[in-house]
Amino acid sequence: MAADGVILETRGLTMRFGGVVAVNNVDFSMKEGELRCLIGPNGAGKSTFFKCLTRQYKPTSGQVLFRGTDITGDITFQIARRGIGIKTQVPSVFDGLSVHENIWLSARRHHKAREANKITDAIIERIGLGHTTKKLVGRLAHGERQWVELGIVLTGEPKLILLDEPTAGMTGDEVGRTTALIREINRNVALIVVEHDMQFIKAIAAQVTVFHQGQILVEDSMTNILNNQRVRDVYLGKHAV
């Protein structure tokens, strides 16, 4: 653990695709236990930023530091083992396997068989999918698949969780449950959440970072962000809040 309590830091992180600069020289920093929201219009670079953090993309330049350690050279599975979990924008789950198997595979990675079984049952209980244990994940509703993925990520016992649009495709009721779950997770895990749902961000009352054209436009509390003229111009002005 870094002495200054910083869990994640990027220095000059840049990702180019040919002439397009999707993430442009981003200096980002957040503390242990923090809950941070990333917002910004489509194409602002939020998902690309996540993919750079988990090495699904190799950053063109810049550094990623996790608890003070430079992890820029790590590849995806090593980053996962360090304790960064991610829920991708399009749910990345094992569609051809049962809910139980999905969670079990996550639990078994770092636990012995017997413990893995116990943890799997506990997690399925926690995400409220007990009635679907034996169903194939591919046959579940979109919202439920999101929950399965959340369960998979939680089971990995990460120290930092990246959530890319966790409430997409969920009903109002499900959004409420997700909000409660995120609050609960945040008691001992740091989170970065990409969301478009302003009500949701208000509800989890987080510090907000606004991305625009691959760069950080502003960082502030949600209340101040909503009153920020520049943010309104690039983003919120286009959407009714």
Binding site: T54, Q56, T76, F77, A80, R81, G85, I86, T88, S92, V93, F94, D95, G96, L97, S98, V99, H100, E101, W104, L105, S106, R108, R109, H110, A113, N117, K134, K135, L136, I152, G156
Partner: protein
């Protein structure tokens, strides 16, 4: 329909018909020699070696998701490794193991570059095909005296003939009899089949299936998918090498044709026709297609036959268009479908019989209960069940 069978894989004999398949093998193991038909035993040994080859492909493609277009290379390497080693050593124990070790080492090197280099599936198929053909042309051009390893000449396109058969370990003079060779081959088939089942039910196997299902997620869980794919590839190569070794003990001969495109393509057809994602399917596919080839072959010999590859091409086209899942998964789906109908009709009859006044509709009720009840024992739990392990 990806991963339909792969759902919740673990060693669960009742669910996956493992005991039925293994039991059949055991029965054949004991019954066939009793018939005292040496030709039949010889024929079965040939099928057994090919079935083991089919299983190697069933494993790496159907469960590992690795589309190896040149599985024949490991078959050929295993055969040549045995032939050359036994020619030098004059005893078959070490060569038997070398027939698996050499292909495994070769696969480890080739696979390292493919999987750690992050090549996608299409390139893996192309490269493996290219390598098996390269080996084919290389071995073909080694007929000169200068091409030899130790005492054993490679013999080029002529092939190596009169290769020593298996002897009892440590006793080069006592060869295995025809019956013993049969027991040995059949025993190895049984061991391969059950071994793969156990492997697929273990943590390793379940992760392998997960990697096939969603490589990115497996990696985000912290699994090194490159290493898992490499391990699958190497295990598949060793099994194919074993098949090559057994096939030599059947015909005492190996030629560069072991590496040929014709065999490489046939292995894929066996799996495709039988059912990708199962072990039993490719066994069925292998036996059926070998038998078809046998019939066509004898037809051709008598002058009235058709081109085997033409027919095979036709069969594959029909399967891809009509039963893309392959024989075994399709039959299983039918059975599940029939099960649903029976339960539906049974349920309907049951509620109908409830409407009737007391004392009537007993026959109907019995029929309904039979329709529902029978299926309960036949269909087993829903897909994805039984993953408590």
């Amino acid at each position: 329909m990806t991963g339909l069978l792969a759902s919740g894989w673990k060693f669960d004999p009742n669910r996956h018909g493992t005991w039925a398949v293994a039991g059949t093998m055991i029965v054949l193991l004991f019954v066939l020699p009793v018939l005292e038909d040496p030709l039949l035993l010889l024929q079965v040994r040939y099928y057994v070696s090919m079935i083991i080859l089919a299983l190697s492909m069933a494993f790496i493609w159907g469960f590992g998701g690795i589309m190896c277009f040149g599985q024949s290379m490991f078959f050929g390497l295993g055969g040549y490794a045995y032939a050359i080693a036994v020619g030098n050593i004059g005893e078959s124990t070490a060569p038997f193991f070398l027939s698996m070790i050499i292909p495994a080492i070769f696969a480890a090197i080739l696979g390292y570059f493919m999987f750690f280099g992050r090549l996608n599936d299409v390139y893996v198929a192309v490269i493996t095909l290219a390598v098996t053909l390269a080996l084919y042309y290389f071995i073909n051009s080694t007929s000169g005296d200068e091409y030899k390893i130790g005492k054993a000449r490679l013999m080029g396109f002529n092939g190596i003939s009169s290769i020593r058969k298996f002897n009892w370990p440590g006793d080069p003079k006592s060869f295995l009899t025809a019956n013993e060779l049969f027991y040995f081959s059949m025993g190895l088939l049984l061991a391969t089949y059950l071994g793969l089942k156990v492997l697929l039910g273990s943590k390793f196997g379940r992760v392998v299936v997960a990697v096939k299902e969603n490589e990115l997620r497996a990696e985000l869980l912290g699994y090194d998918v490159r290493a898992y794919k490499l391990a699958v590839f190497v295990i598949g190569a060793a099994i194919a090498g074993l098949a090559g070794c057994l096939s030599i003990n059947y015909k005492n001969f190996i030629s560069p044709n072991a590496f040929h495109l014709a065999l490489a393509a046939q292995i894929i057809m066996w799996v495709l026709v039988g059912g990708v994602g199962t072990l039993f399917g490719p066994i069925v596919g292998c036996v059926v297609l070998l038998y078809v080839s046998f019939i066509l072959g004898t037809g051709a010999a008598s002058g009235g036959g058709m081109n085997t590859y033409f027919i095979f091409g036709l069969i594959v086209m029909i399967f891809v268009l009509v039963i893309p899942q392959g024989i075994v998964p399709t039959i299983r789906d039918w059975r599940e479908q029939i099960g649903r109908y029976r339960r539906m009709i049974g349920g309907g009859l049951l509620s109908l019989s409830d409407q009737l006044p007391a004392g009537h509709g007993e026959g109907m009720r019995n029929l309904a209960e039979r329709l529902i009840g029978v299926m309960k024992s036949e269909s087993g739990p829903a897909p994805g069940a039984g993953t408590k392990g």
